[in-house]
Symmetry: C2
Subunit: 220 residues, 2 copies
């Protein structure tokens, strides 16, 4: 069985050969997340960045706290943690959560929990929210939450069990990965797809452009 | 530079190691398309199928023909072509088109055309329509079109030029690939993501289940 690192290396090898830069990086950037999906998304346009995952614990949401507010709070907490570790760089922090109405779904505790979590999402819509926090080298902070509505099919329980048995849901908030085998569960989405994967690419790039941290290749 | 075959082999190697079946295939299936994206989507849930690309020419849309009708017509034409080549199997045909209002956008004629095509999609929404046609071994036919709205960012011309220079748009209807580097152009979508990639996975699986061609692993 692959581990995350090997999967990532093969992908990287393929991508490095086939990818040409679309944007160039003007300021030192740090991605404050160990997620290979976030790294792959930022890397897809040719950005260069260091990866320094945040080391802070994530407290649970406060009672009555809106999912969007919680996602922003977590992203900012991670970004500040990493900004202390990587002074002189622009830090990007992100936190992706799954919300069924006002309930925030974390990672499943076990496979039985994963089956129940997926069943609770079937035949209806839920929200995937990524909180983003950017801290520039001069201390300026930008933060926001991007929300995507995701609608699941009405899925047969046998298929849910077979999906959970693949192990993919084990470490995923909401117990599925839209970019993986979990795609079959998704009838449709409304909003940013990359946001569901873990980073709203277009919006984050808009922020990096406004901070003059990146610009298109060939710009004078 | 990679060719399509090499890209596909590496992906296949990675996927075969990490993927477990979610559905099993009960009838002989033929995918009537050479698109590695369609093959990867159907393969992601563990389906087994032969690949036999259609050999027929694709006529342009008739004057005044709705994009949805044209996509279904092309998918059915391909499926019938392949059904003649592969008797005794259930054939899946598909045709994905990009429509800006009522104009159908094909593949760009050259890189200048690709730049103009992407510019014409920026800052607004267009539709990606996949026509699907399934012909079962007893001759029954099912066909439909699935539509996804795609909204592009307002993109700087330098970034468009750099994206076109990657070569990715060369052979893509609408001059972009949402699953590739073109993801940075997409602000959001409404509808099926896999439909934009080339095959509306959830809908096609629903059809295959109704035709008793596939069923979840573990079903008695």
């Amino acid at each position: 069985m692959f581990n995350e690192f090997e999967t990532c290396s093969i992908r990287q090898a393929r991508d490095n050969i086939s990818k040409m830069k679309i944007y160039e990086t003007l300021k030192a950037l740090t991605l404050g997340s160990g997620s290979p999906r976030r790294s792959e998304l930022l890397g897809s346009v040719g950005l260069e960045f260091n990866i320094t995952p945040a080391t802070c614990d994530e407290p649970p949401a406060k009672r009555g706290q809106l999912p969007e507010d919680y996602a922003i709070e977590m992203a900012m907490m991670k970004a500040r943690n990493v900004a202390n570790l990587c002074p002189g760089t622009l830090v990007i922090g992100a936190d992706t959560i799954v919300a069924r109405d006002l309930d925030i779904l974390g990672k499943p505790r076990n496979r039985k929990d994963a089956i129940e979590m997926i069943k609770s999402l079937c035949g209806r819509s839920h929200k995937v929210i990524t909180g983003c926090a950017l801290i520039s080298d001069n201390g300026d902070e930008i933060s926001y939450a991007v929300t995507t509505d995701v609608e699941f099919i009405n899925c047969d329980e046998f298929a849910i069990r077979a999906y959970v048995a693949t192990g993919e849901p084990d470490d995923k908030a909401g117990a599925y990965a839209i970019q993986g085998q979990g795609a079959f569960l998704v009838k449709g989405i409304c909003g940013s797809y990359t946001n569901v994967v873990g980073l709203p690419l277009a919006r984050v790039m808009e922020s990096l452009i406004s901070l003059k941290a990146i610009s298109p290749i060939g710009t004078e």
